[in-house]
């Protein structure tokens, strides 16, 4: 950010997030929301998870929703797999295209190297530990004023974009008979269609945890200022000198 090199005055504003980041972020919120909701619909219509190539009612399961208080019929009544499939695949495309635009732009503009990927020193255990301690201590003044990502933030965003999303995409594709025929290595990579489905479901839990932590962090680090900076781009520097 320019503000770090040429300190702005007290209460001054900077453009924190570029238009590309802002547009892609909110498309992601919509697509991610639909993917989650439609994915839950699909899952509820067959609320068991297995490992390997084979899995059906009566086959040894890794996870049964009925063990957690929701019977097969109750789950089935809640889930609509037709709605789920239609919207899941639609917003998977929205999510994918949006993500490709974001990554292409971020690579071209240097966003990935300058802002996103953690540096070697930031990845040092001491650096990560210090960042974690700061996070656990609560909302420090410096964090409310931060105009660049911290080490843990960089690490989690980078893992999300370059590891988590590709794994979710591939575990999704591995479940599709056409993709599995075109790319049989998908089945080998995850150890079978049911394994891919189970990993996809586990990834969904991780996604929900990410969203919860992400939203909590935004609220703790100055909700109005942070949310505005993701909508209009404008971020007001706090009273405290940086």
């Amino acid at each position: 950010m320019t503000s770090e090199r040429s300190p702005a005055g007290v209460g001054a504003s900077v453009i924190l997030h570029s238009y590309n980041v802002r547009i892609c972020h909110w498309i992601n919120v919509i697509a991610g929301g639909y993917l989650l909701l439609s994915g839950i619909h699909i899952f509820l219509d067959f609320p068991e998870l297995y490992w390997g190539h084979t899995g059906y009612q009566g086959y040894p399961a890794l996870f049964k929703l009925s063990d957690w208080g929701l019977s097969w019929d109750e789950a089935g009544a809640l889930g609509n797999r037709m709605w789920g499939r239609n919207y899941h695949f639609t917003f998977a495309w929205v999510f994918l295209i949006n993500g490709l635009v974001y990554v292409a732009w971020s690579l071209a503009r240097g966003h990935v190297w300058r802002r996103l990927l953690p540096g070697r020193t930031e990845l040092a255990p001491a650096s990560l530990k210090a960042d974690l301690v700061e996070h656990l201590r609560g909302p420090a003044q410096e964090r409310a004023a931060a105009t660049s990502y911290g080490p843990l933030q960089k690490l989690s965003y980078s893992l999300l974009i370059f590891v988590f999303v590709p794994v979710m995409l591939l575990t999704g594709l591995a479940q599709a008979p056409a993709f599995a025929a075109a790319w049989p290595w998908l089945l080998d990579l995850f150890g079978g269609r049911q394994s891919a489905r189970t990993l996809h479901a586990a990834g969904t839990v991780l996604f929900v945890l990410f969203v919860l932590v992400h939203v909590m962090e935004v609220l703790l680090a100055g909700a109005v200022n942070r949310v505005r900076s993701m909508i209009t781009g404008k971020f007001r520097l706090p009273e405290e000198e940086m």
Partner: protein, 261 residues
């Protein structure tokens, strides 16, 4: 339901189309596009809005990736599911089906109508006398379950060839079932070697719950396209006359016609 009449002029080849020629008619994506045949990329009825756009993206992407017609994975005997599940309709209660079932399907036959040179019906024995294919594949239900079974049946190309071969206008094959279900597939899947009309499962006769006497296996599409309890086949150039015209009962309900994902 439309049963298109076949005029002699619609047959290009005076000889029955060989399987090799049938396969050669859909060699690869380039060939498909060159012949103006976009059927392999776009569903017969494109739904509106974002969902329709995604349908086209999904179908054209997977078909492009499968342009060289790869086989769906075939497994080992040891992978076969101990008790292959049954789902949906497991014993059609209509009189017609129950009569055929009680007779052991000896009076059952499969009419092949429409854009074939010699429309005719096949008894179960006649289908079994055609060259057969046995494949150990995973049935992938769109609901989320999958199970591996060994299917034996007559490749669809063999059946069509025995009916004199298809005319160049043929775009879809419609499968009508005895439980009033219907589905259709396009020529891209029709010519695929793993697309078979199965009469056997795991070395035995096809069980009633799995679609006796005959079901479609279209291995690169989800379970709902693998229609059971076959009653007749229509080779057509348009799906307009069937149901609501979307090409299948599941797509009439609101599923995507193409079950590749």
């Amino acid at each position: 339901m439309s049963k298109p009449e076949l005029g002699a002029s619609r047959i290009v080849s005076p000889r029955p189309m060989s399987r090799r020629r049938l396969l050669a008619s859909v060699p690869a994506l380039g060939g498909l596009l060159a012949t103006g045949c976009a059927d392999a990329l776009v569903p017969p009825t494109v739904r509106g809005g974002l969902i329709g756009a995604a349908d086209v993206l999904t179908m054209s992407t997977t078909r492009w990736l499968m342009a060289d017609q790869p086989l769906a994975r075939e497994y080992e005997r040891s992978d076969i599911a101990p008790d292959f599940p049954t789902w949906g309709q497991t014993n059609p209660e209509n009189e017609d089906y129950q009569r055929h079932l009680s007779e052991g399907f000896v009076n059952w036959s499969l009419p092949v109508n429409g854009l074939v040179k010699h429309p005719r019906a096949f008894s179960l024995d006649e289908l079994k006398q055609l060259p057969s294919r046995t494949q150990i594949t995973a049935h992938v239900c769109e609901q989320g379950w999958s199970a591996i079974g060994e299917w034996t049946g007559a490749p669809l190309t063999q059946v069509l060839e025995a009916a004199g071969g298809v005319s160049p206008e043929a775009r879809y094959v419609v499968f009508n079932a005895m439980d009033r279900w219907y589905e259709s597939i396009d020529m891209f899947d029709v010519v695929h070697p793993q697309t078979i009309l199965a009469y056997g499962l795991n070395g035995d006769e096809l069980p009633v719950g799995n679609g006796a006497p005959l079901r479609l296996r279209v291995e690169r599409q989800c379970g709902y396209k693998n229609i059971k309890f076959l009653r007749s086949i229509d080779v057509v150039d348009s799906l307009a006359g069937f149901g609501r015209g979307t090409g299948g009962l599941s797509s009439d309900f609101g599923f995507h016609w193409y079950g590749g994902v």
